[in-house]
């Protein structure tokens, strides 16, 4: 069986739900959204703490209430739970399965909004045995908020990206305080760490310049081995929470025909949020790993606007005029593909990250001429965003983003 619709959204988190809501507001009513979990909302569903929704709804929500509001606002679409997409085929055909068996979906526009997940222990190649009690924040939050259980009593928190503070809040909800926060780098990664530490981490030692080198324990975690620069030291604990290092969830994209950008590790997009197959659009954290829910929400909305143009045949059918190349210590830039009518016909918003702490000049060079530049001071875990002002993109044969470290 194949169901046809104008739009098919894969993923019911902030990006997908926001896209569904915005499409309805723009008069697109034939929208199907597939969510593989048993509830809508994505990651915020199990972030039981406050901090969501201020920009979107002018009010601060806890994760679950925010998730509910997103879902309520998207209710005009055909929202289908427990539906797992299995395969992306050329031309907008998606094979899926659900409780009543396999089902195919064909849409004029498919939105990939799969989100991101943290890097697990295995991909971090951490030494040691395989005791129970090692998990990512995402799993911990599901234990605590969705199942009212905490799998340990004296865990350590690895990493200090913003999500680590979400971990602290989750532990506090479970009545626990971690033994330590362990960070490889010389400083805490999240913005405004002082504020966070004062509020949440009071009394929790933050060990910077410290590497987790081994996990100890047979059936359960009994401790860890750390290295602060003077050889291995042991530390007792009964759990290890591996936070951050988010990666786009590309399980369906990687084996498909849709092109992945090695920098973002998400689908490569053009300035209309379209993937290499123009039937596919992408929004939210699948584009590059973690940004805030609010950011994903705005992208969902932006994609909806592009889809409306697509349904009116208002987007170029040809392949993009240029691929953006990178120079200097840049981890990624997106969109990765540019048309020469940008940015006069639509906003050209670049987002990028650097590979290391760097100060220098960031420039956009089109066909050999610098069309935009600015001095920056950047850290790897923080987003750089800029809008290219209206400009003649010339023949737009070569576009490069260059960062000259000072």
């Amino acid at each position: 069986m194949t169901s046809e619709s104008d739009v098919l959204i894969l993923g019911g988190g902030p990006a997908g739900l926001s896209c569904a809501r915005a499409l309805r507001g723009l008069g697109v009513h034939d929208v199907v959204l597939l969510e593989r979990e048993r509830a809508l909302g994505g990651i915020p569903r199990h972030c039981g703490h406050l901090g969501f929704g201020l920009r979107e709804f002018g009010k601060v929500y806890g994760g679950p209430d925010y998730a509910k509001r997103l879902a309520d606002e998207a209710s005009g679409a055909d929202l289908r739970l427990r539906m797992s997409a299995l395969k992306l085929e050329p031309g907008g055909l998606v094979r899926a399965t659900g409780p009543s068996g396999p089902e195919n979906f064909q849409a004029k526009a498919v939105v990939l909004a799969f989100g991101a997940r943290e890097t697990p222990r295995s991909a971090r190649l951490i030494s040691g045995g395989r005791p129970f009690g090692v998990m990512n924040t995402g799993a911990l939050q599901q234990f605590v908020y969705l199942h009212s259980k905490c799998p340990f009593e004296r865990p350590v928190v690895i990493g200090s990206e913003l999500v680590a503070f979400s971990t602290l809040l989750t532990l506090r909800h479970a009545g626990l305080k971690p033994l330590a926060i362990i960070e490889e780098n010389a400083r805490i990664t999240a913005r405004q760490p002082g504020k966070w530490i004062a509020r949440l981490g009071f009394g929790v030692p933050v060990l910077t310049n410290t590497r987790l080198t081994r996990i100890l324990g047979d059936s359960r975690v009994t401790g860890i081995e750390i290295d602060r620069g003077f050889g291995p030291e042991q530390m007792e604990c009964d759990g290890v929470i591996l936070t951050g290092r988010f990666r786009p969830e590309t399980a369906l994209i990687a084996p498909s025909h849709v092109e992945i950008d090695p920098g973002t590790r998400g689908p490569a997009i053009d300035s209309y949020f379209r993937c290499s197959d123009h039937h596919y659009f992408a929004a939210g954290n699948v584009l590059r790993g973690i940004e805030t829910a609010g950011q994903c929400w705005r992208e969902g909305k932006a994609v909806a606007e592009m889809i409306v143009k697509r349904l009116e045949n208002g987007l170029p059918a040809r392949q993009p005029d240029a691929r953006v190349t990178l120079q200097g210590p840049l981890a990624y830039v997106y969109p990765q593909r540019i048309y020469r009518d940008a940015p006069t016909s639509h906003p050209l918003l670049f987002k990028a990250r650097v590979t290391r702490e760097v100060r220098g000049r960031l420039s956009v060079v089109v066909d050999g001429s610098v069309v935009w530049s600015r001095r920056i001071s950047a850290l790897p875990e923080r987003r750089i965003a800029w809008k290219l002002p209206a400009h003649d993109m010339r023949s737009c044969q070569q576009v490069s983003v260059e960062l000259d470290a000072a």
Partner: protein, 453 residues
């Protein structure tokens, strides 16, 4: 005198792949065997971490018990796998020469294979190698092609053997560690953590604890030094980079690092060979994992861009001898099946045949029954999985596409999962790229009260 908690004519110590295969064989032979396992679930020792290959024996020592058991085991697997719903990825293997010195050794490998009765083995040149494996590094100078080497599911196979043994009246006691025993000339009385068990004949299939269990009967003629093997498993897209199993030109000590697909659609690099004293701990080690990845990338350059899914280590029960330690002691009513190293997954059915025959000849009174087939759920990519059927698309583990029904089924039945590891091996839940980010809380909620912590 206390009453034994259980008794049987045949008691097998150790529920690894070898124990399970012997259990199956003796059960079909009408002996109603009992299999004892110290851990919370079967397959918790050496059998939990191997490279999941069905070998031909092309490179096994000539005229060895190992070769004999590999070949009879291989044949039996092919005969019974359909009835037990077990997969077979017919990949073939290539022993690749990466330098001139190795290239010079290839003809001898072919000769040895033919001598071992594996007559379809041939040498192929560089161009043929490139044609077969376009993603392999261009440094490959040639290879020996072994069409009969295949990839199987290392856990579903022994699980199916155990189920078949149960269907024939066998019994499995888990969390039942054997601590001692005494022979009165007719019966063995085994002391276990669950109580005394009476046995007509004891079969030692205790894997990495083989010599310790052997000492219950007599001073062991062999000593086990667990040999650790670490593995790196790459995510599913990497499996597209390879067709055959890539074997190195072997050295004296080990078959070396293999690169191959898995039945579950991943790509695996390993194992290492590291001797250690500890019989149960199998730690992974960052430096070694980095080396394995580098080795994989050296052979398949495109692996450099592929994400790692899982890391694990297994322990294989190596002894000071090259060959398996299989013996029947008629006077002491004791059978030994020890020192079964990396080839045990293939050889298990062959070892079981050998022990079944010995049992009948030595101790008699065996009544072979018509086999009852107990197909197990398929977990391999090459055959239909439950999520693909009309019935069951309610997926809990999204990475490995494991349904609610599959997890519920693994928690029930005659041999329910005994611990989380057992549940993972039965269903593949939490074994994928996210390693439980999405599903672990839900899986554990489903398993609440049913698994050993």
């Amino acid at each position: 005198m206390r009453e034994p908690i259980a008794n049987s004519r045949a008691v097998i110590i150790g529920a690894g792949v070898v124990g399970c295969a012997i259990f199956r064989r003796l059960a079909i032979a009408g002996l109603e065997p009992i299999m004892l396992e110290a851990a919370s679930d079967i397959l918790d020792g050496a059998s939990k971490g191997n490279s999941a290959l069905l070998h031909t024996g092309f490179d096994a020592p000539a005229d060895s018990i190992e070769l004999n058991c590999i070949q009879s085991g291989h044949r039996e697997y092919l005969t019974i796998r359909g009835k037990l719903n077990l997969p077979l990825v017919e990949s073939g293997a290539l022993v690749v020469a990466w330098d001139e010195e190795q290239l010079a050794k290839l003809p001898a490998i072919v000769v040895k294979a033919h001598r071992n009765g594996v007559t379809d083995v041939t040498q192929i040149d560089r161009d043929e190698l490139r044609k077969r494996e376009p993603h392999l590094s261009e440094r490959g100078l040639g290879a020996v092609y072994v069409p009969g080497e295949h990839i199987i599911d290392p856990w579903s196979a022994p699980l199916a053997y155990a189920h078949q043994g149960l269907a024939h009246g066998g019994k499995i006691l888990r969390r039942c560690g054997v601590t001692g025993g005494a022979f009165d000339g007719v019966h063995w009385t085994l002391q276990t953590t669950l109580g005394e068990i009476s046995a007509g004949v004891v079969i030692n299939a205790a894997g990495n604890h083989g010599d310790l269990v052997e000492a219950i009967n007599q001073p062991p003629a062999f000593a086990i030094t667990p040999r650790k093997g670490q593995f790196v498993v790459f995510d599913k897209p990497a499996s597209k980079l390879l067709h055959a199993i890539i074997l190195p030109v072997p050295t004296e000590r080990t078959k070396g690092v293999v690169v191959c697909r898995t039945a579950f659609g991943n790509l695996l690099v390993g194992p290492t060979a590291e001797d250690q004293q500890d019989r149960s701990r199998a730690d992974v080690d960052r430096a070694t994992l980095d080396l394995l990845i580098a080795k994989g990338v050296e052979m398949i350059p495109e692996l450099a861009d592929q994400p790692v899914n899982a890391i694990y280590a297994g322990l294989r029960p190596a002894t000071q001898f090259k060959d398996y330690q299989i013996a029947v002691n008629r006077e002491r009513h004791w059978i030994t099946a020890a020192g079964i190293r990396s080839t045990g997954l293939t050889a298990a059915l062959g070892i079981a045949q050998m022990i079944g025959r010995s049992f009948a000849e030595t101790f008699g009174d065996v009544r072979e029954a018509e086999p009852i087939w107990t197909p197990v759920p398929n977990l391999a990519e090459e055959r239909p999985r439950q999520y693909m059927t009309e019935a069951g698309g309610d997926i809990v583990c999204h990475c490995e596409l494991v349904t609610r029904g599959e997890i519920a089924a693994a928690l029930e039945g005659p041999l329910p999962a005994g611990d989380l590891g057992g549940l993972k091996r039965r269903t593949r839940c939490m074994m994928g790229r996210c390693q439980g980010f999405y599903c672990s809380a839900q899986v554990l909620a489903m398993a609440e009260g049913r698994l050993q912590p």
